[in-house]
Amino acid sequence: MPTTDFLKNRAVPVVLFVALALIPVYAQVFDDRFVMLFATRILILAIAALSLGFILGLGAMVSFGHAAYLGLGAYAVGILAYHDIWEAWISFPAAILVCAVFAAVTGAISLKTRGVYFIMITLAFGQMAYYTATSLSAYGGDDGLTMWGRSEFFGTSVFSNDTSFYWLVFGTLLAAFLFLKMVAASRFGRVLKGAKQNEARLQAIGIDPFAYRLTAFVIAGVIAGLAGALMANQAEFVAPAYMSWHRSGELIVMVVLGGMGYLHGAIIGAVAYLVLEEVLSGYTQHWRLIFGPLLILVVLYARGGILGAIKGRAP
């Protein structure tokens, strides 16, 4: 039945991305600049959440240090800008490279462990990155580093114009989503999903999952690093707070809130989390008192997160 198939697999992400694509139109028509700036911020964090959702959903790798990549990507852009290098074709590859190396080294160690130990060790590496950033006194240390501008792309102002920057972020999110969806369906993705279900079975057919997990971990780190590079541009400011464990925790909450069974769950989770935060914090500064129980209800009664509730059952 192709219609139910469509509903199950395609309809939600298509509606989601169409809705996101309409935001600049809305902003133009109603002259609402805030909505677009806010949406840009949401989509940047959605890219990071998506990358975490990839390793968490497919490989059960609960990385509690994923914000480190946001920070590393942001610092790569910020530090280069500090040295007067504004070209995105230099700073973005630099962000990718730094994140790939950090993910490869920390992943190779972390992935020797499982479960709670994996959570703790990724948290520890995340905190290492955080404290390293606070000690970078040349680049602002604790206070962070103001950029006084945005990246350039061969001299054009793609980054500086709010609308074109939104499209850049939107395009990055869409590309990352389609890429990860392709990877999830590939032979590589199948190995990840299999290893999550029964590692001994994988070993017994001759597949050692370690190298596959590590590769997935690096892919996720690089995509989160891209989000960080975009985030530095949006805020025109880089700070250690980008990599604090609170942020790592927020990313996990976004993934769980949206629903772990599907990649677009993380995007929905990021949107829901940040919109709720915005709305609730408008009523009271104690918004977490409401948000916390709400989250518990979702975890208890909508096992598949928001997506699970939409589809009527956990995936």
Binding site: M182, V183, A185, S186, R187, F188, G189, R190, V191, K193, G194, Q197, N198, A200, R201, L202, Q203, A204, I205, G206, I207, D208, Y212, T215
Partner: protein, 251 residues
Amino acid sequence: MNQPVLDLKKLNKAYGALKVTKNVSLTVASGEIHAVIGPNGAGKTTLIGQISGALRSDSGRVFFAGRDVTGLSVAKRAQRGLGRSFQITAILPDFSVLENVALGVQAKAGHSFRFLRPAAKDPRLNAKALECLDAVGLRARSKVRAGDLSHGEKRVLELAIALAGNPKLLLLDEPMAGAGPEETARLVSVLAALKDRIPILLVEHDMDAVFKLADRISVLVYGEVIASGGAEEIRQNPAVREAYLGTEDNA
């Protein structure tokens, strides 16, 4: 063809003072089913671990397909053609039956660092997987979620997964455990049909199945092979009768 597919030479394994495997030597030749039986606690599971590579032997060597594989990991031994089933069924419950077997084919088809094409629609994987499901009579269930199969079907599925890797030897750890009489009969006929193509080392509790299938039987008691021979020989062996067949284990 006289060289055995599997050749265990004086394997030993101890946990502290407890010797679980004592000087075990046995072979599996092509075309045969060699069964290992023994009462609970005889060290069968440990021996399986030593053969599959999950456990490191204290001493002794494992030769498989003419090569010394003593130092190799589980995955490396599997790549060389050691297929296995587990005492507690190990399938991938969230995958379909077909996908379980297709992953077995994939594992044998080189590395899986392939990111572009969807694996589920890969005819090269699926054709071979369906062949293996045919061989065990599970093709009609190929689209079912593996976790939803009956217990006996899961056991058969495990066999199909092992077959997908074109194994040179099947290492089966109590394949009949928990299966009903009909399912056991089905497994027995599947294994009997397989053995000409693929030699089997069968660790099994079900005596009827063992005596029906095995060309040779080795009896393991307290980590030691106390007897080895044909079915009749084992039945008559007084030491075996005392240690094993005479007890309530003769179910």
